[in-house]
């Protein structure tokens, strides 16, 4: 009977978790903006994943560009071509890959670094915590663009390096958030109870602080991705992007440098810009909806 209790409690625990997921999904569904954002997100992610199926990869190669220079949108090229004759639509679809990849990778880095430092600076006492906090503040106040420029110059231009640059400049915001959450959780009675029961600092952090901080990390992540994608676009637009790859930012850079605005080649500027806006919007809406799901106080009755 007793081993039965253990087995069934594990199975029941799994069922409880499944129920929790369903409940959270139901709550998420109630937020129509969030659903819209999710739909957009799914659309763009599928676009990125299925890029080879949707557009011919050869269209990216400058040497094998099929179309003429800056052709208007037509039946053949739905969104026209760029200054090298490449179809805009192809560039857009493959650009989605880069933008999303860099955005997600950068966010992952920012999250990991930010969480570790945030937890440590919030939970530890004395000088280690103070040092980490100062580090966070220091990185926070450094002007972003000069730092990004310096890092890009030092590290060289490449997809991974851009992600690194963005990650290094984004983690402080996360760290501050996690730190303040950690500070408030640290004082809660259930932490003291854990200490009473004999938990070490590590056990307190992993057993109590982290699980209670995780929902906030989750919701914050989606918002960070939005910022990361926007940042990647900015850096690429400034010419710091990977020269061998196409992203929405490099498209905008290209459009700007050929004077697409003055020549009226709107199909070169508008699509990538709109895509960036839509993706950032999608992540933001989803992030806000997630915050409502995980923080009951934000929900409307």
């Amino acid at each position: 009977m007793t081993t039965g209790a253990t087995i069934s409690s594990a199975a029941l625990a799994r069922r409880r978790r499944a129920e929790a997921w369903k409940r959270n999904w139901r709550l998420f569904r109630r937020n129509r903006a969030g659903l819209f954002g999710l739909g957009l997100l799914v659309f763009f992610i599928l676009l990125a994943i299925c890029a080879p199926l949707l557009a011919d990869g050869d269209g990216l190669d400058l040497t094998t560009a099929p179309g003429g220079v800056l052709e208007h949108p037509s039946g053949e090229y739905w969104l026209g071509t760029d200054d090298s004759g490449r179809p805009i639509l192809t560039l857009l679809i493959y650009g989605a890959r880069v933008s999303l990849f860099v955005g997600l990778l950068a966010t992952l880095m920012a999250m990991v670094i930010g969480t570790l430092i945030g937890l440590a600076s919030g939970f530890l006492e004395g000088w280690p915590a103070a040092v980490l906090f100062r580090l966070t503040e220091w990185f926070l106040v450094i002007p972003f663009l000069p730092l990004a420029l310096i890092l890009a110059t030092v590290l060289g231009r490449g997809l991974f390096n851009i992600a690194l640059v963005i990650g290094i400049t984004s983690w402080p915001a996360t760290a501050l958030l996690i730190r303040s959450q950690t500070l408030s959780i640290k004082e809660r009675p259930y932490l003291e109870r854990a200490r009473l029961l004999g938990a070490s600092k590590w056990q307190q952090v992993t057993g109590h602080v982290l699980p209670n901080v995780t929902p906030m990390i989750f919701a914050n992540t989606t918002l960070t991705v939005a910022v990361a994608i926007l940042t990647e676009t900015t850096l690429s637009f400034l010419g710091l992007g990977d020269p061998t790859r196409v992203s929405w930012g490099t498209m905008l850079d290209g459009a700007f440098s050929v004077g697409a605005i003055t020549t009226g080649a709107w199909w070169y500027i508008v699509p990538p810009g709109v895509c960036v806006v839509l993706v950032v919007l999608a992540f933001t809406l989803v992030g806000q909806a997630l915050e409502e799901v995980f923080n009951p106080r934000l929900r409307s009755r």
């Binding site: 007793t2 081993t3 409690s9 029941l12 625990a13 259930y190 009473l196 938990a199 056990q203 699980p211």
Partner: protein, 344 residues
């Protein structure tokens, strides 16, 4: 301050505090004495009530006894040996003495199920390995919850704290403490946030645990009725000191300290005593009055009885000694000393 005689003050004392002082530095920079010299002793299997209002230092005393708070002066002794504040020393203390904190709702991690909350202590102390009956974790959790009155335990395993009533949450906390098989349980205001009608159940549980497991209980409370219900001995605290102590019968039916008398008189269930509503509130612990710390509010000083006994000056200027933790009915009061010295 360890006395050369060593050894516990009271026979069979399990946990003691000797001359314990706890000082904080407040935001404004002043030193506040939450505890200003306390001697307390708890015997095995005894129920002691520490009674006082806010600012009395009762919670600080409980936290000091269990090692969550280090005394600025004085020491805490477990079976006559001073506590070591190392991880091992504290872990050893907490395998024998456990505490249920005030505010049951906030003491449970909202993301942990009841099972996980109760199992936490078991996992930390690896109780499963040392269990004589070779029970596994689920069985130990089950047993602890059943002992705390949660039956059948399995039905509550997967509940979350917000799905429990106040009484159930309190029992879960008690179960979590019981899982470690402590010899002494400290309970800080165990029933004050619960509905009046379930109060009795929780108190009866504490008595039952004493009876069946030989577990001692130290209850920190402002409720004198609670002390009357379950306590063997009682210590009344005011502004960081014990002002009266003794058996519950002695202190509550024949109180000697003016503060105890005033507290008793305003308990609505007592009709015999004329209500003495003290003016003002307990002073700030950073500004403890000189002499007897109760003198600014003492009715005996205000109505002249102190003058007549000739000790009014002493009340205002002469500090009182720390009451020793012996079993006798003792009072920290100048007037009482004079009156009890008189024959008849």
């Amino acid at each position: 301050m360890s006395s050369p005689e060593g050894g516990p003050l009271l026979e069979g004392a399990l946990l003691e505090a000797r001359g314990v002082q706890v000082e904080f530095v407040t935001r404004s920079g002043h030193a506040a004495r939450a505890l200003d010299g306390v001697d307390v002793s708890v015997r095995r299997g005894e129920v002691l009530a520490i009674v006082g209002e806010s600012g009395s230092g009762k919670t600080t005393l409980a936290r000091t006894l269990i090692g969550l708070q280090r005394p600025t002066t004085g020491e805490v002794l477990l079976e006559g040996r001073p506590l070591t504040y190392s991880t091992r020393g504290l872990r050893n203390l907490r395998s024998r003495v456990q505490m249920v904190l005030q505010d049951a709702s906030a003491s449970l991690n909202p993301r942990q199920t009841v099972y996980e909350s109760v199992a936490e202590g078991i996992r930390l102390h690896k109780t499963v390995a040392s269990d004589e009956q070779a029970r596994n974790e689920a069985e130990l959790v089950s047993a602890a919850m059943a002992e705390a009155g949660l039956r059948p335990p399995e039905r509550l395993f997967l509940r979350y704290p917000h799905e429990l009533s106040g009484g159930q949450k309190q029992r879960v906390l008690i179960a979590g403490a019981l899982a470690l098989r402590p010899e002494l349980l400290l309970a800080d205001e165990p029933v004050s946030s619960l509905d009046a009608s379930i109060r009795g159940e929780i108190l009866a549980l504490l008595l039952k645990l004493r009876q069946e497991l030989g577990m001692g209980v130290v209850v920190v409370t402002h409720d004198l009725g609670l002390a009357w219900n379950i306590a063997d001995r009682i210590a009344v605290m005011y502004l960081g000191r014990v002002v009266e102590c003794g058996t519950t019968e002695e202190v509550l039916t024949a109180p000697k300290h003016p503060y105890t008398r005033a507290l008793l008189s305003v308990v609505p269930e007592i009709e015999e005593l004329e209500p003495v509503v003290l003016t003002g509130e307990v002073p700030d612990p950073s500004r403890i009055p000189t002499g007897c710390r109760f003198h600014p509010r003492c009715p005996a000083l205000a109505d002249g009885s102190a003058e007549r006994a000739g000790i009014a000056d002493a009340c205002r200027t002469a500090p009182l000694e720390i009451l020793p933790a012996t079993g006798l009915h003792r009072v920290a009061c100048h007037l009482d000393r004079v009156l009890s010295a008189q024959p008849g």
